[in-house]
Structures are given as structure tokens and as C-alpha cells.
Subunit: 223 residues, 2 copies
């Protein structure tokens, strides 16, 4: 675990006690999901594009089709902003004002580096897929040269980042405590439902363990 330097961009100004700058907290949030939001500029206009990502060590990796607006903008070498958010629960206080959401979020400022060399590209695609579905890579057909050519891969170093977390119960004003209203937290979780197999799937092929036991919340898993 490492504490990242706090910069003007990553410093949490609102409710600073909710902030964290250590890599353990940041990586755990990143590892619990696989969708990030990439913020970038084209001609001064801000765009946000959601995309899948993978993390390994102190880098995150994204991929996309050549000539996508987002990747062409990242190529210019400007700092992008990457946001990841987990909604953990609804905080139902007795007053409207104290309603809140339990969440964990990460924001990263970083410059994308394109991975051009085929082996590095394949390695990055493996990191992304294994981040989304651990155990999957070994089972499947790997990318061929034509597929690699059609794909752009970028990595971002996680060295300017912060996390913000709201957890726990409600905080109500004293004078509201006797109100006749239910108060507490409704936790929310992303869960897998029944897998839907491909229509053409050979009946002898069983559902793999990594799908049967699929879950996002893995606890401490910092490399």
C-alpha cells in the first residue's frame, strides 16, 4: 500500500473526511467494478464515454475500436479524468436534508499511453478480460493479428487519484429523532442472475466455475 500525493486536482474539498488517497482503498474500488467513465475534451467541449477497464498493479487499461472519438482524443496526450462509482445503498433519514447515498468513488487524472506492440496489446486485453471475468482468458480463443490490428489499447498510470466514500448509517438532527418515520439504510448490490447460454452451445459443455461463483465484491485484493 502506498499513499498517493494529494494534488489540487485530486484533493477532496467537500467533506474531506470522506476522502482516501491510499492505493489499497483506491484499487479495491476499481476492482469491484469494470465500467469507468472517461472524460476528455474535443474542441473545448467535455465528453464522457463509459467503457470497460481492467486494472493491474498501478495501471488501468482500456480498449476500443480504432478511430473512436475517445481514443483519438486520448492520443493527443492531454490529461483525461477517469471516474468509477459504486452505489452501495440508500440512506433514509427522517428529514429530506439528511438523506444520502452510501457510495465509493474514485477519480483518476492521467495521460493515456498507447500499447502498440502486439504482445503488449494482447497482455492488456488479457488484463481487461480477467478483470471483468477472472478465469475466462485461458478458456477462449486469443486475439489474432487481424483482431489486434482493429483494436487500440491504452494504459493509464494511477498516480494522481483519490477515493471518496460515504458508508454507515444515517445522521439525523436530534429534534427529528421522535418523528414517526422509518429510518435506516437500504443496501444495494450488483448480483449475477441465471446465466443464459448461447443457443448453439454444445450440450456437453458445462457452465464453468468462474461463472457459477461470479461476484464483484472480492474484499481486499490489492496486488
Amino acid at each position: 500500500m502506498k499513499n498517493l500525493n494529494i494534488t489540487n486536482r485530486t484533493k477532496v474539498n467537500r467533506l474531506p473526511k470522506r476522502a482516501a488517497y491510499d492505493t489499497e482503498t483506491i484499487y479495491n474500488i476499481l476492482d469491484e467494478t469494470f465500467i469507468c467513465q472517461v472524460g476528455f475534451k474535443i474542441d473545448g467541449q467535455v465528453y464522457i464515454i463509459p467503457t470497460a477497464f481492467g486494472r493491474k498493479d498501478d495501471h488501468i487499461f482500456i480498449h476500443g475500436s480504432k478511430n473512436s472519438r475517445m481514443l483519438n482524443s486520448i492520443k493527443k496526450g492531454e490529461d483525461v479524468c477517469i471516474s468509477v462509482t459504486l452505489a452501495d445503498g440508500l440512506v433514509l433519514a427522517r428529514s429530506a436534508f439528511h438523506h444520502s447515498i452510501n457510495y465509493r468513488s474514485v477519480i483518476i487524472f492521467s495521460i493515456g499511453k498507447e500499447n502498440i506492440e502486439p504482445d503488449k496489446k494482447t497482455e492488456a486485453l488479457k488484463i481487461i478480460l480477467e478483470h471483468i471475468i477472472p478465469g475466462r482468458w485461458n478458456d477462449i480463443r486469443k486475439p489474432n493479428q487481424k483482431e489486434l490490428n482493429a483494436t487500440s489499447v491504452f494504459s493509464f498510470k494511477i498516480d494522481e487519484a483519490s477515493a471518496k466514500i460515504r458508508s454507515g448509517s444515517i445522521i439525523d438532527d436530534k429534534e427529528d429523532l421522535d418523528l414517526n418515520v422509518w429510518a435506516g439504510v437500504l443496501p444495494l448490490e450488483v448480483v449475477p442472475k441465471e446465466p443464459v447460454k448461447d443457443e448453439g452451445l454444445n450440450k456437453s459443455i458445462l457452465l464453468p466455475e468462474y461463472i457459477i461463483n461470479y461476484k464483484r465484491k472480492k474484499g481486499k485484493n490489492v496486488d
Copy 2:
């Protein structure tokens, strides 16, 4: 239902068949979640902040503490970019290349309008809370003047927006169909877990119906 004008900013360039510009599709995606990502600029640098929102008719509403970086930037009157993403499932193909994610996303470009008048502020806060927990507003203590003073509320017209959707099963290359690998879709869903009541809650107060039956997926609910 209305079809929004397609602009250079909202036009989906990559995989245009996944795009939708009608308000029914856009509103349904917005209504299934309550966290949006707001992209804005400070001194040319892109920032993304996740925040709760509510929708009513052709507007979305956000709120926050006075003097937050985000709200001060929105106040300047520049177009912000608002992104909402639902991850519906993992698409597990037989090749790495055809792996995908079933998702529904919306992107909105809009200029924020501050709601300053107390009644309008209260109305916007009601819209946000009822969007997150329908049925809650009537039960709770409403915001008082001091609380309203501490809160800024902004609304955004949804007239420049697009949706992008990937759904359904896998698409594999013909030559991969006989590979000995499980293929199909693993659906994901956000579900509520057991409510955790406030420690000080009077035992006579029962869990309300709107918490017992809480779910995000509501189907067609366009106003």
C-alpha cells in the same frame, strides 16, 4: 415520445445501430438509476463528479452543497456533459475479440439552470428524492429555510441527448462455433438487500411498502 435532434455531439459514430435518440428510450435508462456523472471544466481541465439526480419530464435535477467545485463550474453557464450507464450483463463469446458487455447508456449535453426560489428548490429536491425512492417524500420532514439556504439545485433540459444500447446474445465467428468453451450471457442486476434500520428507531415503526418492494427496473415509465 419525441425524437431528439441528432447533433454533432450526440451522434453515435461507433456502431450507430446501437444508438437511440427517442425520449422513451432515454428516459427509461435515466429512470432505472439515480447516479449520473457530470463532466465539466476548470481552467481547461476536465473533471467528472458522480452525483445523485432525479428526472421529471424533460429535465434532470441535481443538488449539492453551496460552493462545491462542480456547482460553481456549472454556474458559469458552459455546456456540461452528463453520463448515465447501466451494466446489464457480461457477454461471453468463444473468442476474446467478441466478448462484450450488455449496457444501456445516456449522454446529455446541457447548460445548468440554478433554481433559486425556495418553492422551486423544494420541488426539485422532491423530484430528486422521489426519483431515488418513490413514495418517500410524504413520510419525511421537509427542508426548512436554513437547509434550503445550504443547498444549491440545478436543472438541465434534456434536449441534446442520445442513448447507446448493447443487448442480446453473443455474436461469434463461424469458425469458432465448435470450440469447447461455454458461451452465453451472464445478466447482472442491482438488487436491494436486507434493510438495516437505525439503531434508535422506535420498534412500533414498520418498514414501509416502498422499501419492501424497492426495485430500480420499472419498465416503461415515460411521463
